[in-house]
């Protein structure tokens, strides 16, 4: 194996006349999402130093998953940033989900996705945050698709450099090859009990594994 790699390297070097180095993939640490089924699905949780995409439609459990992850991170002493393109963040829901709000920097972009992108870039470049969430869940698909691939690359490299877990919450996958993990959320059914809405059964599918895997969980009100 080693000899084959060496031969391949010398051949490419001879052909293109450039020094070739194979960069070893660094071992990544992970944030537990706090939901065992999702941790199993993602082989341990959300990886640090990478870009992760969580997509889905309304009421598919995206925010429930993110708030649980945010709660785990803040309880572990991490500082987190929530860049909210639409201004939809609900502090009371976050608090109920176990998020220590004192460790969360909330940026309300008031519906401007471009501001959200720039703010995420500034905050992740500053370093020191364990988890940075860019919430584009209410941004129209047309607008989200307009984000150039170079911007996603820039964010991914910044995440690699600062060892932060960068998570993008959106309606559909946009960063494509720049993301190390893609999770698609699907709603299964709302759970009603008498006159009360009690929760939501949701399904998550990991999109970056060779074989698509799914997990189900129940989020309660």
């Amino acid at each position: 194996m080693g000899a084959a790699i060496l031969q391949l390297r010398s051949e490419i070097q001879a052909r293109f006349d450039i020094p070739l180095e194979i960069r070893k993939r660094q071992e990544t640490r992970q944030f537990s999402t706090g939901i065992p089924a999702i941790d199993k699905l993602t082989d341990g949780g959300i990886p640090r130093g990478t870009l992760t995409e969580i997509c889905g439609t309304e009421s598919s459990g995206r925010t429930a998953l993110m708030f649980t992850l945010l709660g785990e991170a803040t309880r572990g002493g991490e500082c987190c940033a929530w860049i909210d393109a639409a201004g939809a963040f609900d502090p009371q829901s976050a608090c109920d989900a176990g998020v220590d709000l004192e460790r969360v920097l909330w940026v309300n972009c008031g519906g401007n996705a471009e501001h959200a992108l720039k703010s995420t870039d500034l905050l992740i470049q500053a370093g020191g945050f364990g988890l940075v969430v860019m919430d584009l869940a209410d941004t129209p698909d047309k607008e989200a698709r307009r984000v150039p691939l170079s911007s996603w690359f820039r964010l991914r490299h910044a995440a690699e450099r600062t060892d932060a877990a960068l998570v993008v919450l959106e309606r559909q996958i946009n960063a494509r090859s720049c993301s190390a993990l893609q999770i698609e959320m699907r709603r299964k059914r709302p759970v009603w009990m008498g006159k009360l809405l009690r929760g939501l059964a949701a399904e998550a599918e990991s999109r970056k594994h060779y074989r698509s895997r799914t997990a189900e969980f129940l989020a309660v009100v």
Binding site: T57, A64, D100, R103, V107, A137, A219
Partner: protein, 418 residues
Amino acid sequence: MYCCLHAPGNLSLLTECARGFSPHIEENPPDTVVFDARGLEALYGPPEVLAREIERRAGVPANIAMAANPDAAIHAARGFRGITVIAPGNEAAVLAPLPLNLLGGSSGTAELLHLWGIRRFGDLAKLPPLGVAARLGDEGVELQRLARGEGYRQLRPMEDPLEFEADMELEYPLESLEQLAFILARLLGDVCGRLGTRSLATNEIRLRLKLENAPEHTTSLRLPVPMLDQKAFLRMLQLDLNGRPPTAPVLWVHLAAQPLKPRRTQHGLFVPSSPEPEKLELTVARVRHLVGQDRVGTPEILDTHRPDTFAMRAFAPRQGGGTALQETPTLPRFCLRRFRPPRFAQVLVVNRQPVRVMSPVLSGRVVMAKGPWRTSGEWWRQDVWNRDEWDLALESGGVYRMFQEIDSGRWFLEGTYD
């Protein structure tokens, strides 16, 4: 050696000059300053050379005297013109011709000495010490010691007021913020330099701008931790002024810093890293400039039942790990994503049940509706709330929270359960 500068009516200039040579300065109002010049020979050479350098920097014609003790230097500077350097041990001989009125003392003693025919330092120095003690007491002994140039005492260093301010009156009105940045950089350099020499930092910088034919423009930078980063301060002031520029050309700039001891922390080896407060403050200022002043921070839930009530506080996470929360939920929570402000919607109601929703955000048939739950409160205020809340599932699959205002009967979309 001690050096004394004497120039009538120029005390502040003399003090400023002395500050350039030593931090130990004693002011003798109204016209004399003496400072500790020990060790300066290593920098400037012999005392004569040092004295010439001091004369050059003084900026005003001043008498300069150098002696082994402060009092001898003061008397020489007050009595001799130009530069006087008194070699150690030679004080009595040099000071001998000076008139006795320079020595001070009480009026009674001065009158008595005048009656005795004592007119100069040398005359008093020659008197037998025991006789002086018997006739003039302690004061006489002290005066004779001073006349001989033998007095030795510690300097009484002046206490600088802890004011870190700088200002600049401009020769012509400044219109562009870019030009103003150069002035601010200079003033910040001055203030930060002074803070630095005292090992201090600041957590508040106040800027005042006098404008041409307009009210004064003031702004204040409040920092969560004491800092001393001139470039960061400048950038933050620039961002602030860009967001809220002065309304007229600037005539005068005044900058003041609140002195504070710098932050000293030791991080734990196993504690997750957090953003550097100094760097974070600049980043937050940039983000604030981008999205708006009150849109960045940490939300603090207020103690009220009014929906969606919170205050935005400055982001200042606790140092170290741990959390203030006691209870952690065992299951993931179904969360609400809010519409801010709530979106107006038209709702078709049949048999007191909503059956169809129409709004610019979403429309569709209601497949499940649970409610109403009435909430109201703060009837004593103008903005009283009184409403019926509903949880609705639409045929599209989304689950939403809506409410109907009791007074107006209008429906609003409050948020999406997600």
